[in-house]
Symmetry: C2
Subunit: 215 residues, 2 copies
């Protein structure tokens, strides 16, 4: 089993979390093996694509047998870096930050929430998920001391512009950006954007198309 996985296309990477989820569910149900055909039917994609995707990082399957779910699940998790136990903070303790802190799947997937920050003194010390909300002044100190890897940015556009450079400066590795702006960082900082309005607009487009064709 090759562990090399250089040059995996972005589209494939984007599909990995979904595979991971489905495999996890099967595992929970006690299923131990599955063929690409079966999995494809379940997920609504072609068996060919599944096989092609899995082959990007070495053959996990066995002819005549299929894929060992536990093994495959673990491998994909490892490829995604879930085994690295990235330490995570949330910046912005508003409703969104709060919701994300409570999002149990994050911890389940190996992301350890170690701190929550906000600039509003009224929130100072309030406990969310066992963690006290800290003031922005302590951001750098805390991140350095606790070797924080990821910052989840749940704050408005304006605040973002102040915070991002500070996080970049102390060597943050990744940013999950929920604000409605594209942030600029050096190439060695990974960024993933979640633009909620964009999703709503895409939905709007789909509805508009449906309405056109349907009625």
């Amino acid at each position: 089993m090759r562990s090399a996985n250089r040059d995996v296309p972005v589209v494939v990477v984007k599909r990995l979390p979904r595979y991971y989820r489905y495999l996890g569910e099967l595992l929970k149900k006690g299923v131990t093996r599955i063929s690409s055909g079966e999995l494809g039917k379940k997920m609504g994609v072609t068996a060919s694509q599944i096989r092609q995707d899995f082959n990007c990082f070495g053959g996990f399957g066995q002819q005549g047998y299929g894929y060992d779910i536990e093994n495959l699940h673990r491998e994909i998790g490892s490829i995604l870096g879930l085994t690295n136990g990235y330490k995570t903070i949330i910046v912005g303790a508003g409703h969104l930050g709060h919701a994300l802190a409570n999002h149990s799947n994050f911890a389940k997937r190996g992301f350890e929430l170690v701190g929550i920050f906000d600039k509003d003194p009224a929130l100072s010390g309030q406990v969310i998920q066992g963690l006290p909300v800290q003031m922005m002044e302590t951001l750098e100190d805390f991140c350095m001391k606790n070797r924080v890897d990821i910052a989840i940015l749940a704050l408005p556009k304006l605040a973002i512009e102040m915070v991002v450079p500070r996080l970049v400066k102390i060597g943050i590795k990744g940013l999950l950006n929920f604000s409605y702006t594209d942030i600029e960082v050096p190439a060695d900082v990974a960024v993933e954007n979640v633009h909620l309005s964009d999703s709503l607009m895409t939905l709007s487009y789909k509805i508009t198309q449906n309405t056109k064709n349907g009625d």
Copy 2:
């Protein structure tokens, strides 16, 4: 200017919201025209792609001049269906639902929030964004009377399975799904998923790659 826009590739549609956002920002700054080259540099994509994309729904540009931003912005908005004024409800008034209700961009983009629902009696009547949280019993009645188009689903996986069929039954047109499961609906109901954990996992992958190559 052709208004027909059949068969616009999905990849292009996914890019439209971002164009819309950038054009909106330029408009706000008072810029009235822009060339594909300039816009491309700003957005980090090739000028060629921009022209190709815009041409999917008819030529909006003018040789030697560029694109009229106001016109282009309005056209993209119309293609996305933002002018249809879709009526929207949020199901689930937890922190996530709350955050989404406060998300000002939704209203700005023409989505009118008309109702918020939750099953927790403790939240009944609590006012969010001027709207009282309603109990789940009134869901069908309310949606029919108010001709609700879109439901934003901010509830856990288990609750989803109960709610979706009810919404489908009363003819909901679109669902924005935040729960960590893929929902199944008839073809005439549009669905857009926002799987937060997936984004975090993709980020994790990127970090892992950076770490490998960088160090």
